[in-house]
């Protein structure tokens, strides 16, 4: 490491102003500070500083994502072989999944980081670490069969339109990873929804799928027929089809514990999100139970009522809710930034998830739209909280 330090010190002047590679100053800085926390010292104010920095913060999120990511890789392989009617064992399944997922991760990082480095250099700033998380979130919320070029286009769209046009890291209104997903969802719906996209290789007409195998997610089953053949345990542990990282509620819970324990993500958003979903779920169950199923004749109507009657808590482990509320809704830039606002923001998202899922027949899954909606409402929520703080102060001044 001393040799590396010496080498970096030797080549550093080339990347400073006036050096021959000064156009790569931000790039060099990013790599240098990747290897070494800089020797910069405080000058005034607080002479001592916390060891925590943005890199550490983002690293904690990435570590929290890893259980769900690794599970997602295995699950991808597992369902691929299930669709072929084969059972080659754990490691073969995992490595097949790794082979499917890893290219998506690489494409997402390369296309996004390229823009990040470019914009950092144009703005003459350091490269912000935010994309380290975004770049991993994007692969985890897309179907495994998504074409790589779409990932690249969506990522670049999200970084450019979602982030850089607003002024870069810390200034964006909506979560860039979700924006990438929304872009794919509305631009290429056939690759983002349906029964075939969730299983690697299933979209390819050459593949011989075993009889009776369906790649539909349990959420889609419930929305269409009112029931699913996956057990509650399957849904909780994640042995279900779905986007790469979203299926295992257990692995996401491990991530949630890491995020909350380290203090990196807001537990208030997670708790109020769950509360919002559960309360809205109870309301919907109450509506569902008011129907008399025996009086209904149309099969699709019976399915709708059955869907309304899906136990409210089951929505916690269905679809992308757990992943969304733990990893996406808690993005501090796009969430409400006041502590009281976080309660409202989380609750709003939880409630919206169920409204979109159950009440709106156009979308089987509502997490993405609910969080984007929450993102857009967050500044308004903060505004109300800030106004209250100001009003309290004015009132105090008057009573004195």
């Amino acid at each position: 490491m001393k040799a590396l330090r010496k080498y970096l010190d030797k080549i550093k002047p080339n990347f400073q102003e006036g050096g021959k590679f000064s156009k790569l100053k931000s790039t060099f800085g990013a790599f240098e500070s990747f290897f070494f926390v800089p020797d910069k010292v405080t000058t005034k104010g607080a002479h001592i500083r916390d060891n925590m920095d943005m890199k550490r913060n983002m690293t904690a999120v990435i570590i929290a994502l890893l259980p769900a990511l690794f599970f997602g890789m295995w699950n991808t392989g597992s369902f691929h072989y299930q669709s072929l009617g084969e059972n080659p064992g754990f490691w073969s399944e995992f490595f097949y999944g790794l082979g499917q997922v890893f290219p998506i991760i690489v494409v997402s990082y390369v296309s996004g980081l390229f823009l990040e480095f470019l914009f950092a250099q144009i703005r003459k700033e350091e490269v912000n670490e935010g994309f380290l998380v975004t770049g991993l979130l994007i692969p985890m919320i897309v179907p495994v069969d998504v074409p790589l070029w779409m990932v690249a286009v969506a990522t670049m769209f999200a970084v450019l339109i979602g982030k850089e046009v607003f002024g870069g890291t810390g200034m964006n209104i909506v979560n860039p990873a979700l924006l990438a997903r929304a872009f794919l969802f509305f631009a290429y719906p056939s690759k983002m929804s349906g029964d075939k996209v969730w299983i690697a290789g299933m979209g390819d007409p050459e593949t011989k799928i075993v009889d009776g195998f369906s790649g539909a997610t349990p959420l889609a089953d419930l929305a269409n027929t009112g029931s699913t053949h996956y057990s509650i345990a399957d849904q909780f542990f994640g042995f279900i089809p779905g986007a790469i990282g979203e299926t295992s509620t257990l692995c996401i819970l491990i991530g949630a514990v890491i995020l909350i324990w380290t203090g990196v993500a807001s537990w208030k958003i997670m708790i109020s999100g769950v509360a919002g979903l559960l309360l809205t779920g109870l309301l919907i169950n109450a509506v569902g139970s008011s129907y008399d199923i025996s009086s209904l004749k149309d099969a699709s109507e019976i399915a709708r009522v059955n869907y309304l009657n899906t136990p409210f808590w089951q929505h916690l482990i269905l679809g992308g809710f757990a992943f969304g509320i733990v990893f996406m809704a808690t993005d501090p830039v796009t969430a409400a930034q006041t502590e009281t606002g976080k309660w409202i923001y989380g609750f709003l998202i939880g409630a919206m998830v169920l409204l979109v899922r159950v009440i709106n027949p156009a979308f089987p899954e509502g997490v993405m739209l609910a969080i984007l909606f929450g993102n857009i409402c967050a500044p308004l929520i903060d505004h109300i909280i800030i106004r209250q703080n100001i009003k309290r102060r004015l009132k105090r001044a008057k009573t004195n």
Partner: protein, 447 residues
């Protein structure tokens, strides 16, 4: 009326190098150099009243404030004006007086100081008025203003801060005398440390005494004021440090500006951390020479969170009661952000140092990262026990939005209240400097 107010927000940073409660007398303070640094007083512009070579007594005026000429800054020792140091554009950085050892004092008439105006006049001409700082703006109190209170927090909760129970245990009578004269200007409120039993300040006669229980910044006057008598727009509160109250008390009792004070020398680079009896504004060299490991050390006048960086030939700041010496952090840390970090102190639990919460830390001046955009939220809120939205106020200042700054409570805050936020800031910004900028903007707006 006395309340115990429990504060939950904040953080105690357990640093190595805590001083033992034993007092040493500094030798030769009467011959030492002292300097009054205009930079200790925000929004003040010095108008010199002496030139190099002039003889002065303790209590002689060295300079006044150009904006408010009734405020005098006086020499704490008798001697000769040795040097007036200037920086670029002839800005004065130091007014150095070399003590002559004679200890001659200007005499001030302290009998018949019964009215508010008489009290103000005495404090102004004797050079102790600058010890009175006001909220809003955290500048020297404006003599023309009306004040709703004088507030004294009798304890300092910052890391390695001096213990006033120890320093002032024999000076309660002087403290009371100081409180009495300040009481003529506005009712005096005291804030006590609830953790101290048999508090020496418990018997002080004043308007109101309240106790505060909680981690740093519970000892900050601004934090305490916000819970007792919050500063609204148009109101002013005077804040005085307890040791400075004793100096004012001695002025009243003896008729002289007697600026002796006890400072704590602490920090992991100090060989024998201790309390030293000395005088205000003194050159720190005689206090620390031989007692510190000067190799790659950061010498701070004040505490590690709010103090000023000085060198070995520097001077004790006007409001400072501590000299802290810690290691510089000018090293590269290989994968410092990625390793588990069992020995790295952090508010967050992303470093495994949370396994050892009672450990004493030897923290250095490394930034531990580079400046970034504001991304993380919720950190500042855990460290600021006031009804203030810290991130929103900081952003309002950065946007120079005067109206919003006012709405969000800029009148209630001082730089020191945000010191912990700056310490824990993931984005590595200089929050105290930002707050000062905001306060300066407000002062400029009001002048």
């Amino acid at each position: 009326m006395s309340k115990v107010i429990k504060l939950k927000k904040g953080l105690d940073i357990n640093l190595k190098g805590k001083a033992e409660l034993a007092l040493t007398e500094a030798s030769g303070i009467a011959e030492a150099e002292i300097s009054i640094k205009p930079s200790d007083f925000p929004c003040m512009k010095p108008a010199l009243k002496v030139k190099e070579g002039d003889k002065v007594k303790a209590g002689s005026v060295l300079f006044t404030d150009k904006y408010r000429p009734e405020i005098c800054f006086c020499s704490p020792v008798s001697g000769t004006v040795a040097e007036i140091r200037r920086a670029e554009r002839r800005r004065i950085t130091d007014i150095v007086v070399k003590g002559d050892g004679a200890s001659e004092y200007e005499k001030f008439d302290t009998v018949n100081v019964n009215s508010k105006d008489a009290a103000k006049e005495l404090l102004l001409k004797s050079g102790v008025w600058p010890y009175l700082r006001q909220r809003p703006f955290n500048i020297i109190a404006d003599p023309q203003s009306e004040f709703k209170a004088v507030y004294v927090s009798t304890f300092d909760s910052a890391p390695l801060a001096p213990d006033y129970q120890f320093i002032l245990k024999d000076q309660v009578a002087e403290f009371q005398a100081g409180v009495d004269i300040l009481g003529k200007i506005a009712p005096v409120y005291l804030g006590l440390d609830a953790k101290v039993k048999d508090n020496i300040f418990a018997g002080v006669k004043c308007k109101e005494i309240n106790s505060f229980d909680g981690p740093h910044p519970a000892g900050n006057a601004g934090v305490q004021i916000s819970h007792i008598i919050p500063v609204n727009k148009g109101e002013n509160v005077i804040v005085v440090n307890p040791q400075d109250v004793a100096i004012i008390g001695r002025l009243v009792k003896n008729g002289i500006y007697d600026a002796k004070k006890t400072v704590v020398i602490a920090g992991s680079k100090v060989n024998k951390p201790q309390y030293i009896k000395t005088i205000a504004n003194i050159s720190v060299a005689p206090l620390i020479s031989g007692n510190i490991d000067a190799d790659n050390a950061r010498i701070i006048s004040g505490n590690v969170l709010t103090g000023t960086k000085i060198d070995e030939k520097g001077f004790l700041g006007f409001y400072d009661n501590a000299i802290t010496v810690i290691p510089e952090g000018n090293y590269y840390d290989f994968f410092g952000w990625a390793l588990p970090g069992f020995k790295k102190f952090s508010v967050s639990r992303t470093f495994f140092s949370w396994l050892t919460p009672k450990k004493q830390y030897d923290l250095d001046t490394n930034m531990h990262g580079e400046e970034r955009a504001y991304v993380v939220t919720g950190t500042y809120e855990k460290l600021l026990p006031m009804d203030i939205l810290p991130l929103q106020l900081i952003k309002a200042i950065l946007a120079e939005n005067i109206e919003l700054m006012e709405d969000l409570g800029i009148y209630e805050v001082a730089e020191e209240d945000f010191a912990l936020c700056e310490f824990a800031d993931t984005s590595k910004t200089e929050i105290q400097a930002i707050i000062r900028k905001g306060l300066d903007l407000m002062v400029a707006e009001s002048r």
